[in-house]
Symmetry: C2
Subunit: 85 residues, 2 copies
């Protein structure tokens, strides 16, 4: 078994309202960042997991996203990186 | 002016308690993912911003992190990518 650090990005699905992103964009405008056009707020999750190899670490993390980490109705996820640690 | 899509990772600072990460790790264990060693939950923020060039887009987003997006006491941030859009 080796240990891997897997990074996951979970983002609001396109076309789904993102009230948190809207709120952050408004706050940035208020602070004077007039050039901000849009903001999306998602989650950046780091999972340290033991697995036989890199592929197994990625498959396992993908299953975690499908079963717990991401909301399948409103969110998309992608495995951003898998690094031996 | 060009438009850029800047991705930012905001993560709990090392050594700071991460109760959300702890909770997610416990939930994954309960679901049977026994190989999970640790979980950290941060934010993945996408900022669409108009700027003269890539460097200006990154500098502007860095200032947004320092002034609003990240908590300077408990969080670290990094600019993950800057892409023309």
């Amino acid at each position: 078994m080796n240990r891997y650090r897997v990074a996951v990005h979970i983002t609001p699905r396109r076309g789904i309202l993102d009230p948190q992103g809207r709120t952050v964009a408004d706050a940035l405008h208020t602070l004077g960042f007039a050039a901000v056009r849009d903001v999306h707020v998602g989650r950046h999750i780091i999972v340290d997991v033991d697995a036989a190899d890199r592929g197994a670490a990625e498959r396992s993390t993908r299953e975690m996203c499908e079963r717990l980490l991401a909301n399948p109705v409103t969110e998309d996820f992608e495995i951003a990186s898998v690094e031996a640690s």
